[in-house]
């Protein structure tokens, strides 16, 4: 947009700005946070896969999901701590619990879920303290779904137009993507003959991810345009291509061929990672240009006065 103080024309209305400068700040988060959205999703849905696997007495799959989830649970807090301005103060996250802050709720969920998954995996490996392991598995199973989805609420609960305007879909999109990624990651490592549920979870998640992303982009108004532009657009198209190709491969040949199942899973994983980066970059792009915020708020004001 022009750097003068004059009117800027967009969607048929005149939008004004202060020298084209942003109104809200761009996030100060580094790409580690987008990687965490991905690994946290894997960790959360693997906890669920593992728990349901135990209930269904598919122990081969359950153990794989436990180990894959625990690996993601080890990486996730490290990514978040590295993003802090003062990493040595990471424990301050657990000074308080605030339901008004998805970051606070998420810190507790991650601490519980990650701690219990890693403990359960370590005890499984060591073959000791079975009652403690069961308790840890239960905590991991209960907190897993929250870990897989709260990051959608985290970004939606902001003043960043591309995120806040998508608040009705982002937790669902992230949940679907987490299901796909967790299922796919488990499919990669599961012993032969046990991977069926993980593969079908990846397929279900991938289809839901594609459908929900499409619904989000169709419903979003002017601010939704950033999901199609620049880096966010490139990651978004990559995500759709990989996820669709992976889902097609899983559906058509995944049952018969282990190789096809693993290739499909790898594609679904790549799609999930690209989706998180697309959403992450869209936030920055929508904050950088004040038109998105002004247009959104002017439309809201118009609706309020015409009512």
């Amino acid at each position: 947009m022009s750097r003068t103080n004059g009117p800027v024309t967009a969607i048929g209305s005149e939008l004004q700005s202060y020298y084209g400068r942003p109104i809200v700040k761009e996030p100060v988060w580094e790409p580690a946070v987008a990687v965490y959205f991905f690994t946290g999703g894997i960790a959360g849905s693997c906890s669920v896969l593992h728990g349901v696997g135990r209930l269904a007495r598919n122990d081969g799959l359950a153990k794989t999901a436990l180990y894959v989830g625990a690996a993601a649970d080890l990486v996730s807090p490290a990514l978040l701590v590295s993003d802090l301005g003062r990493p040595e103060r990471f424990l301050n996250m657990l000074r308080v619990f605030k339901i008004t802050s998805p970051m606070s709720v998420g810190s507790w969920v991650l601490a519980l879920s990650s701690g219990s998954s890693v403990l359960a995996a370590a005890l499984e490996l060591a073959g000791r303290l079975r009652p403690v392991k069961w308790a840890a598995e239960l905590v991991s199973f209960v907190t897993g779904p929250a870990l897989a989805t709260y990051t959608g609420a985290l970004v939606a609960n902001t003043t960043i137009p591309a995120w806040s305007e998508a608040r009705d879909e982002l937790p669902l999109v992230f949940g679907a993507s987490a299901t796909a990624s967790g299922g796919a990651a488990t499919t990669l490592f599961a012993p032969a003959g046990t991977a069926g549920p993980a593969r079908r979870a990846a397929l279900l998640g991938a289809v839901a991810e594609l459908a929900l992303t499409r619904r989000m982009e169709n419903r979003l108004g002017f601010a939704g345009e950033v999901y199609r532009q620049g880096e966010a657009g490139r990651y978004g198209r990559l995500a759709k291509a990989c996820t669709a190709a992976g889902a097609a491969l899983l559906a058509s040949r995944g049952r018969r061929s282990g190789l096809a199942a693993r290739a499909g899973a790898a594609l679904v994983l790549a799609g999930g990672a690209a989706l998180r980066f697309s959403v992450y970059r869209a936030g920055f792009q929508s904050a950088r240009d004040p038109r998105y915020l002004v247009a959104t708020q002017r439309e809201r004001l118009q609706r309020a006065t015409s009512r």
């Binding site: 103080n5 939008l15 004004q16 700005s17 202060y18 020298y19 400068r21 109104i23 809200v24 700040k25 100060v28 349901v52 598919n58 590295s82 993003d83 802090l84 301005g85 003062r86 990493p87 040595e88 103060r89 990471f90 301050n92 996250m93 000074r95 308080v96 008004t100 802050s101 970051m103 810190s107 779904p145 929250a146 897989a148 939606a156 609960n157 902001t158 003043t159 995120w163 608040r167 009705d168 937790p171 669902l172 949940g175 299922g183 046990t194 069926g196 549920p197 593969r199 079908r200 979870a201 279900l204 998640g205 839901a208 936030g283 904050a287 004040p290 002004v294 708020q297 809201r300 004001l301």
Partner: protein, 297 residues
Amino acid sequence: MSAPAAWPDTYGDEAKPRMGFFTDTSICIGCKACEVACKEWNLIPDDGRVWTGESYDNTSTLGANSWRHVAFVEQRKPLKVDGDAASVDAEPLRWLMESDVCKHCTHAGCLDACPTGALFRTEFGTVVVQQDVCNGCGYCVVACPFGVLDKRHLSRAPDDPAPTLPLLGKDEDGRVWKCTLCYDRLKGGHEPACAKSCPTDSIQFGEVEELRARADRRLEKLRAERWNGARLYGRDPDDGVGGFGAFFLLLDEPEVYGLPPDPVVPTTHLPKLWRTTALAAAGVVAAIATAFVGGRS
């Protein structure tokens, strides 16, 4: 309608009247004494000198190292609306100046979002960051409807002492900073540095209730004098942030000054957002349970 949560009730006998600013931009002369006084009193570091070419504004925006920012707007608009002698000129010109600051919202997005409790509501009803608690997570930065808060980046000189704990190679202060409404000065019974230094009383400090009444009288006067575009911004306790503790009299739409036209605290939508998240979590469990139908292979 609304008072800030946790004020004054949590302070009991120590609660003070809610204090704030009324910034009347119609008498701002753009001297930037507020910016300088704020920097000096609060020991805010230099943030570089950039010549923007945007009128007289080289500060550009509020941030970690700018807690007052004077905006300069040059317009081909008459100072007064139709019929007045001042607007007869063929090419009218007006120069708007506005000293921006943290709004100390009644419902503060930064405060709701802060996961460490570093941000808190003071006994004066203002919002302050405790620098010994903040871990620089940056969530308040994206929760503010006005882009007020930011993380402070500071290069460490080669001979500066190394931090006591590893900062993972980060050359920065790493914490979030913003206007404290001179909490230390308020504690001592003084007015904030910016208001103290303002030569025209464009920045007025006082009890919010009293400032609102004063602003209403001022707006009435400017309207009677047919000033072009005069309006109050953030005075209404029923707006999306429950009214500002630091509000403004503007002479044009808020976005002309780089302010959001309809600020809403994100927390407004949070109850529904949590319900959506619960639905998503249930969906994850349902999808995975469904995936177990059909056996192991």
